[in-house]
């Protein structure tokens, strides 16, 4: 073990330039990868529990809401609600209907504004009941909208996708853009590692030759190389984690969140998940190319 450690150290020193290159490439690529993961989690958070199941939300009247079909100062009646539900269900375009009660809406609201000043600003009674409707074909929304829009007890009909989809498209583009770029860079990092090892097997050719001749095990010969690339990759991963933490703190917590309080934003838990993924990827992407090229260049 002493030998392995001292070899690792001297290897890191000897290949200083290459090690630096590996660290920087790992750093940048893992940062991008982590940002992609954070963007993906941001999309999930924004979509919430309902998004993938609904295309249209039919909000019902409450005492406090105003609408053409509402009686001022009164909640929607049970009768009205049943009629609306029956109308929705009888529409041939409708695939599924979920009713969100006031309590559920309240839960959702508190979750969205958790930690914000708005969290305790409303009561259960002030929340709006709604029907969340999934269509067979999301494009065919106009029939249902015009059908229920004018029914008594309906405050508003909202097609969520129409205004959220562009945002999600951008976020998804960001997510795949960063992950795609990071994959390219990670491949580059893996090739760098493999190249570093190839060079090291030349500079240490005599040593390796003697080790093989006197019967050192393959694993023993490989360990310094393995540790060398692992150390470089982990340094890259730590730097990338720092970059992620800083980005989330600066971009989201300091700027986006105070500005746009109506959204749920990623926080430390999501950042933590991304960091863990980054470290994992760093380990895999240093160990595998090392093993592969070591098997190739350190042949018995």
């Amino acid at each position: 073990m002493r030998h392995a450690l001292s070899e690792t150290l001297s290897g890191l020193k000897r290949n200083g330039g290459m090690t630096f290159a590996v660290i920087v490439t790992m750093w940048v690529s893992l940062s991008l990868f982590g940002l992609g993961l954070i963007a993906a989690q941001q999309v999930t958070l924004l979509k919430g529990a309902w998004y993938d199941r609904i295309e249209i939300s039919v909000f019902l009247c409450t005492k406090d809401t105003r609408g053409e079909n509402c009686t001022p100062g009164q909640d929607v009646t049970v009768e009205q609600r049943d009629q609306i539900e029956a109308a929705i269900k009888s529409n041939p375009e409708v695939d599924a209907v979920f009713r969100e009660s006031k309590e559920e809406a309240y839960e959702q609201f508190r979750e969205t504004y958790a930690g914000s000043a708005l969290e305790d600003s409303l009561t259960v009674d002030q929340m709006q009941e709604s029907f969340r409707v999934k269509l067979k074909d999301p494009q065919q929304y106009s029939g249902l909208v015009s059908q229920v829009q004018t029914m008594p007890g309906v405050q508003a009909v909202q097609d969520l996708h129409q205004f959220l989809d562009p945002i999600f498209q951008w976020l998804t583009a960001l997510q795949w853009g960063t992950i795609g770029l990071s994959i390219l860079l990670l491949v580059a990092a893996a090739l760098q590692i493999s190249n570093t090892i190839r060079m090291a097997t030349f500079t240490r050719g005599r040593e390796i030759g003697i080790m093989r001749l006197v019967g050192a095990s393959n694993f023993y010969i490989m360990v310094p190389f393995l540790l060398e690339s692992l150390v470089a990759a982990l340094i890259g991963a730590v730097l990338a984690s720092g970059t992620l933490a800083f980005s989330v703190w600066f971009v989201i917590m300091e700027n986006a969140q105070p500005l746009l309080q109506g959204f749920r934003w990623v926080g430390w838990p999501e950042t933590g998940i991304s960091m863990a993924a980054v470290v994992l990827v760093a380990i895999v992407l240093s160990v595998i190319p090392t093993m592969v090229s070591a098997r190739r260049y350190l042949r018995v």
């Binding site: 005599r206 006197v214 019967g215 393959n218």
Partner: protein, 229 residues
């Protein structure tokens, strides 16, 4: 100790066999000279024992194991039973004599206490007790080769292979190395030495195996370099 049964080796992309249908038996404790011109198959013979590659045909038994079918993961264990000395010494220039010899034990995971005990003994055996802290470039060629022999023998292998060990040395120094190998042989190691050095072979009167174009053309119990029996 070493047994070749109808062994042939053809290198990739070549039609002529480097070694052809060689059958040979080397007993425990024997000292064998392997002679023959360049390209006669001497090095191939030694490399097959070390399992640097497999034979194209035939069986090779080294210390009871069939080397031809030995799985790759068992090669290190095989090589720990074999010491190898080559013409060009192959010492590590950045390490001292002691460290060069100790290296062979370190890399197979021997404990430090064992290394501290065994390396000085081995340096004494090769006559370099007082030069343990020198670097290879401060030594003469003969001394460097002694270090190489010490490294090959420090783990007390059952077999010592030497590929032209005196090839780079003057005759006088060669005699010293030869005596050293003889001493190691007497310490119960089987020694196989490939050589061009006819004077040495004639003087030692050991078993001589001559190779020519990959064939064994002579195997004499107390041979000399040149003459055919």
């Amino acid at each position: 100790m070493i047994k070749f049964e109808d062994v042939s080796r053809i290198y990739e992309g070549q039609t002529r066999a480097a070694l052809a249908n060689v059958t040979l038996d080397i007993d425990k404790g024997e000292f064998v000279f392997l002679v023959g011109g360049s390209g006669s198959g001497k090095s191939t013979f030694l490399k097959l024992i070390l399992r640097e590659f497999r034979p194209s045909a035939g069986r090779i038994y080294v210390a009871g194991k069939n080397v031809a079918t030995l799985p790759e993961r068992k090669i290190p264990a095989l090589r720990r039973e074999i010491g190898m000395v080559s013409q060009d010494f192959r010492l590590l220039p950045g390490k001292t004599v002691f460290e060069n010899v100790a290296f062979a034990l370190q890399v197979i995971g021997k404990p430090r206490s064992h290394i501290k005990r065994v390396v000085p003994d081995t340096l004494e055996l090769v006559g370099l007790s007082d030069k343990g802290d020198r670097r290879p470039d401060e030594l003469s060629g003969g001394e460097q080769q002694r270090v190489a022999v010490a490294r090959a023998f420090v783990n007390r292998p059952k077999i010592l292979l030497a590929d032209e060990p005196t090839g780079n040395l003057d005759p006088e120094t060669s005699v010293g190395i030869m005596k050293l190998l003889d001493r190691i042989n007497k310490a119960e190691a089987t020694v196989v030495m490939a050589t061009h050095d006819w004077a040495m072979v004639d003087q030692m009167r050991k078993r001589v195996v001559e190779l020519e174009n990959g064939h064994v053309v002579r195997d004499q119990a107390r041979g000399i370099y040149g003459a055919r029996a």
